[in-house]
């Protein structure tokens, strides 16, 4: 478990103070895959580096498994770090050592016996699918393979937490996929809590169960990925969500849309159960509302289907109101889309 309590971090460079983190509080529960997303400069890298005390907070506390890292002596802190693995954007492998020796390093630092090291390293290389590369140098590997070595190395000392600092940002989409699946497996098979820093919403969508959105050193939104994706409140969050889920009408639909008397446009968001019920059918049948579908899309997040439909509804105002209430009762989030007609149509 990781907990940050009202953490501030200020850097002083050439007498200029830079506030990287401004009062961050968050809680990562055991077994979570917790994603932190933000644009570059949002402070997310500083944030993850606080969790293993590569950076010390200027104010506030960082607790790992309930213990305040700030209260530890240097020696205790080093011991605590063995429980926190970390992987990096640029892998940070020793170029002078073979894959085997790279993975072995944390065990060498722990002064394990040769036989023990051999057994554990072979097991780890097998797990990440690189058994045949034990004798290769990092320079002979592809980016994805290097990150697998990084992961094996991070897992060597049996940590309960794995920190991923932009771990897939230097990889192509396909390799990113395979690394993310590996992280998911680590989380599931070893029950390791994973914390991921990224600027790619697809990473969050793919494996995270919780997400925090950062901007200018603050967390502007956090919660379960399903909630944040389903109902992004902050503009930045909406922009991120837009990169993976299209949820607005195309320009050509908006251009041809007729504004008729008594017709209104609504965005309907379905999640989980509500996505499988014939709600639209009901409102047409029971409330005599005309439905014109302008846009529809479904996405799967955390094995839950998230659906968005934009409809133009037309009918008797009282009936329309009743139809909207009916949908709300059935867990459909209804939101009226105002300014949907493009300005050019009025000119």
């Amino acid at each position: 478990m990781i907990e940050l309590r009202n953490v501030y971090k200020t850097f002083t460079r050439k007498e200029v103070k830079i506030e990287a983190l401004k009062g961050i509080s968050l809680k990562v529960e055991k077994g979570d895959i917790f994603g932190v997303i933000g644009y570059s400069g949002a402070g997310k890298s500083t944030l993850i580096r606080l969790v293993n005390y590569l950076e010390r907070p200027s104010e506030g506390q960082v607790l790992v498994d309930g213990y305040d890292l700030g209260a530890y002596s240097d020696k205790e802190l080093r011991a605590a770090k063995k429980n926190i693995g970390m992987i990096f954007q640029h892998f940070n492998l020793l170029e002078s050592k073979k894959v085997f020796d790279n993975v072995a390093i944390p065990l060498v630092l722990l002064k394990k016996s040769k036989a023990e090291i051999r057994k554990r390293v072979e097991e780890l290389l097998e797990f990440v699918g690189l058994s045949d590369k034990a004798g290769s140098y990092p320079s002979e590997l592809s980016g994805g393979q290097k990150q697998r070595v990084g992961i094996a190395r991070a897992l060597a000392s049996n940590p309960s937490i794995l920190l991923c600092d932009e771990a897939t940002s230097a990889l192509d989409p396909q390799t990113t996929q395979s690394i993310l699946q590996l992280l998911k497996r680590i989380n599931a098979e070893y029950n390791i809590t994973v914390m991921i820093i990224t600027h790619e919403m697809s990473v969050i969508q793919e494996i995270c169960n919780k997400v925090a959105v950062m901007e200018e050193g603050r967390i502007i939104e956090q919660g379960s990925v399903l909630d944040v994706f389903g109902e992004p409140k902050h503009q930045t969050t909406q922009n991120f969500v837009k990169t993976v889920i299209q949820n607005s009408m195309t320009t050509s639909v908006r251009r041809t849309l007729k504004t008729e008397q008594g017709s209104r446009v609504y965005k309907l968001n379905f999640a989980g159960e509500s996505a499988s019920e014939p709600v639209l059918y009901e409102i047409i049948r029971s409330y005599n509302v005309k439905v014109n579908i302008l846009f529809a899309n479904t996405t799967e997040i955390q094995e839950t289907t998230l659906g968005t439909i934009i409809v133009q509804l037309q009918g008797d105002p009282a009936q329309l109101e009743a139809a909207l209430n009916y949908m709300k009762q059935h867990e459909v989030r209804v939101e009226e889309v105002k300014s949907y007609v493009l300005d050019i149509d009025h000119k």
Partner: protein, 219 residues
């Protein structure tokens, strides 16, 4: 035209003296310079054992010694030399100033080699909870080894140049032969021969250094 005033024994003796001076001062100079270079890197601001006081003393001290031309250093520290080897002339008397000359030079070269190591690797080491000594031994040195070998090669070649001045205190060596016989007595054969020997020596050491560095890097 090809007549010369020195014997081949004299020549051989000079070569051995040069190798002796270079070898001993390189060995002891490395013993002093390598730890000094490591110290510079780890105590500098942001280093694994940041120590402002030590760094601010060490850094200018090395610069001061490095500012002295070897020929001046050689005579300036004669009292120190006498205190250490109980003589101020001969090969062993030349070795003391050579060590004092080369140790700070090696320290700087080592510092540069170690600073080239990818900071990300040190960050990974820190994230693993490595002690400062473990960071140096398991991360910093292995990553810098190829570059360190090339640095020591450069230092060795610098030393060969410096030994030419060792003649001032009767240190002998190939360089001394060139000055005393080749230059002062207009013995062209000695001059040409010593130049050829020095070229071969420098070329040989550089190739050896390059090969070793490449072999050890393997990447």
């Amino acid at each position: 035209m090809f007549s010369t005033s020195i014997t081949s024994e004299q020549f051989l003796k000079a070569i051995i003296e040069t190798i002796q001076m270079v070898g001993v001062s390189l060995f002891i100079g490395s013993l002093l310079g390598i730890p000094l270079g490591i110290l510079l890197v780890i105590t500098r601001p942001g280093g694994v054992l940041e120590n402002k006081a030590l760094y601010t003393v060490l850094n200018p001290l090395i610069n001061i010694i490095r500012s002295l031309p070897f020929i001046i250093l050689l005579v300036a520290i004669i009292p120190v030399t006498r205190a250490i080897v109980h003589t101020s002339i001969g090969t062993s008397a030349a070795i003391v100033p050579l060590i004092i000359y080369i140790a700070p030079y090696i320290a700087r070269l080592v510092e540069n080699s170690l600073l080239e190591v990818n900071p990300g690797i040190l960050e990974a080491a820190e994230a693993m909870g490595a002690t400062p000594l473990q960071v140096i031994w398991y991360f910093l040195l292995p990553e810098a080894i190829g570059s360190l070998i090339l640095s020591l090669t450069t230092a060795t070649i610098g030393l060969i140049g410096a030994t030419a001045m060792a003649g001032t205190v009767g240190g002998g060596g190939v360089g001394d032969l060139a000055i005393v016989y080749g230059y002062q007595r207009f013995d062209k054969v000695v001059m040409v021969a010593t130049v050829i020997i020095l070229i071969i020596l420098v070329q040989g050491i550089q190739s050896l250094g390059n090969t070793l560095a490449r072999k050890i890097r393997r990447y």
